[in-house]
């Protein structure tokens, strides 16, 4: 059973539209993360969370919001999508010890 799932797996959005990417984990981990992956940049941290109700800014938070309504769910929200946000987005979960992060399968987002 996949422990970290993401939806949708693929998304095409229009410039200026609102996009919500969802992540669910069954690892019972306190920490969850949103990354984007672009060629030449590796994985860059957008937002992360220590638990339900908390969100923290990562390295590239501009243009993104996050929501952690429960231990299991962590959403990434693009209020006004732009073509520069075209990327592959990964969600991950990790325990409080920080020894390892478990990644979801990714969401490929294209903003036209």
């Amino acid at each position: 059973e996949a422990a970290v799932t993401q939806s949708p797996r693929n998304k095409v959005a229009v410039t200026g539209g609102k996009v919500t990417l969802s992540c669910n984990q069954t690892n019972n981990h306190n920490n969850m993360y949103w990354y984007r992956q672009d060629t030449g940049h590796g994985l860059r941290l957008i937002h992360y969370s220590y638990g339900a109700g908390s969100t923290e800014k990562g390295d590239i938070p501009d243009g993104y919001k996050a929501s952690r309504p429960s231990q299991e769910n962590f959403s990434l929200i693009l209020e006004l999508a732009t073509p520069s946000q075209t990327s592959v987005y990964f969600c991950a979960s990790g325990d409080a010890k920080g020894a390892e992060q478990y990644f979801g399968p990714g969401t490929r987002l294209t903003v036209l």
Partner: protein
């Protein structure tokens, strides 16, 4: 601030040859280093991790040694296989124990 450098963006080798992928880091705190591997169209997965100076850690034929004196954690394998073709990321656990800094990644291609 904390950072991770991977100098090779692309490495191409013939099956059976040894490989070393470079990773150096910068931090003012006690380092905890990771190697993640990402096969095509898959999620990144943990390959190796270490926080112990000068101790070799191994998994699935790959090995790495954390050298605090040179701030390095290079990934090695004595004989690469076709299935080793993937993207390899080095990562540094940030001081607050909950955030990872990823390098830009090295794409390893193994040819027959």
């Amino acid at each position: 601030g904390d950072s991770v450098t991977q100098t090779e963006g692309l490495v191409t080798l013939t099956k059976g040859l040894p490989v070393m992928l470079n990773c150096t880091y910068q931090t003012t705190y006690s380092p905890f280093l990771f190697w993640y591997v990402q096969h095509l169209n898959e999620a990144p997965k943990l390959l190796l991790k270490s926080s112990t100076d000068n101790k070799r850690t191994e998994h699935q034929g790959f090995y790495a040694t954390l050298h605090k004196s040179s701030s390095s954690f290079h990934l090695q394998k004595s004989s690469v296989q076709l299935s080793d073709s993937a993207l390899y990321f080095c990562a540094l656990r940030e001081s607050n124990y909950n955030v990872l800094y990823f390098g830009s990644g090295t794409k390893l291609t193994v040819e027959p």
